[in-house]
């Protein structure tokens, strides 16, 4: 289990993270989403120990990671701006991994390189963006981490490789309880892979929960009355209207309320049409970050 507790991080006057609390269970595939500049990468760097927090702590299985590299030894962070030794090939990087990571598995490395048809001898700097990312992911997975933090997970990988990477990751999670935290812009990716997510917006977490709960927190209703109407017509006691869009006599309203409550209250107003529609993760994100 990895926790960020009241983490604050500033860069001069700019507060990148403001009292951020995050709790990721072992064996979870956790999605970290957020608008550009929300602080996702900063949070990942604090959680992996690359940055020290200005306030708060990060713990792994209850132990504080500050100044204790041993606690982080089975955590691997794959950033969005990848770094490789200048001029190195995958094999050269594998050698480095082997000497710095106790669990690096040569056979697994060779197997993964073969499965992804990676050129182990080619200088990585000469590879395409996607192939570089593939190289980084292979080296990370071959190191058998307990916790994997990945920034923009599959950026640049083609559909087939993406799918294969997912299979391998999912297998590692199922087999040995690998914990994955993936920071991403792609709601589709999160929808496919994650069991829990947190949304970061301007340095704050504004949603954290398991996937089902997140999409259930908001209710979208298509509603119509015989005459033209405004927002007051769809309001009820305790209603929390996040969005109201009306053209003539049909409106789309989004509530941050319990679904049954919304259904019950609106039925009482005798609309001509009423449809409760599911929200995609993307929609929840847009409404929450406005």
């Amino acid at each position: 289990m990895i926790n960020a507790i009241n983490v604050t991080k500033k860069f001069d006057d700019f507060t990148a993270l403001d009292n951020v609390n995050l709790s990721v269970q072992t064996g979870s595939i956790f999605g970290l989403v957020g608008s550009n500049g929300a602080g996702k990468s900063t949070l990942m760097r604090v959680m992996s120990g690359v940055y020290s927090a200005d306030g708060g702590t990060v713990t792994i299985d209850g132990e504080d990671i500050t100044n204790r590299p041993g606690v982080r030894r089975n955590l691997i962070y794959v950033p969005d701006d990848l770094y490789f030794l200048p001029g190195s090939s995958m094999d050269r990087m594998a050698k480095l991994c082997e000497s710095t990571r106790a669990r690096f598995d040569r056979e697994l490395y060779a197997s993964l390189a073969e499965q992804f048809e990676a050129d182990r001898k080619k200088p990585i700097h000469a590879m395409s963006k996607g192939m570089k990312r593939q190289a980084a992911l292979i080296l990370a997975l071959a190191s058998r981490p307990d916790i994997l933090l990945i920034d923009e997970t599959f950026d640049g990988l083609d559909v087939i490789k993406r799918h294969h990477m997912r299979e391998i990751m999912v297998d590692a999670v199922a087999e040995r309880g690998l914990t994955v935290i993936m920071a991403t812009h792609s709601m589709h990716e999160v929808d496919d892979m994650c069991d829990a997510i947190a949304m970061l917006h301007k340095g704050h977490i504004n949603v954290q929960s398991d996937i089902q709960e997140v999409t259930a927190a908001l209710v979208k209703v298509q509603i119509a009355f015989p005459q033209a109407f405004d927002e007051d017509a769809v309001r009820f006691d305790g209603a929390n209207i996040v969005s109201f869009r009306c053209d003539g006599t049909v409106a789309t309203v989004v509530y941050e309320n319990d679904r049954d409550l919304v259904e019950h209250e609106l039925k009482a107003k005798h609309p001509v049409l009423m449809n409760l529609l599911p929200l995609s993760l993307e929609e929840v994100f847009i409404y929450k970050c406005q």
Partner: protein, 123 residues
Amino acid sequence: MFTIDNLCGVPVYEQIVRQTETFILRGILPPDAPMPSVRAVATQIAANPNTIQKAYTNLLSRGLIYAAPGKGSFVSAEAKGILRAELEKQLDTVERLAAQFASAGIDKQAVLQAVERGYSGKS
């Protein structure tokens, strides 16, 4: 074993639960048949193992499958009976629908024919 429809909007764990129910009812998964491991399913459909686990937990809590420590999960002997009992509870939905049809002036024969078709279509 499971085929996931990625376009239909039904969550993966729900699809797994529904498909397992269908397999049990049709005898494709007879009593004491082994369920594929969470890991095998997760890898096969490239889905989050926690999602698969959620489906299995649902099946376990309803008594449709049981877990043998160290050996995996298996279909319960009573699974078919349990599903039948659960479905029987939905008979009042049929009653309510019938009332709605009646008040809309829909001919009772049309409803009965639909029931007939439903019964003859499945084994």
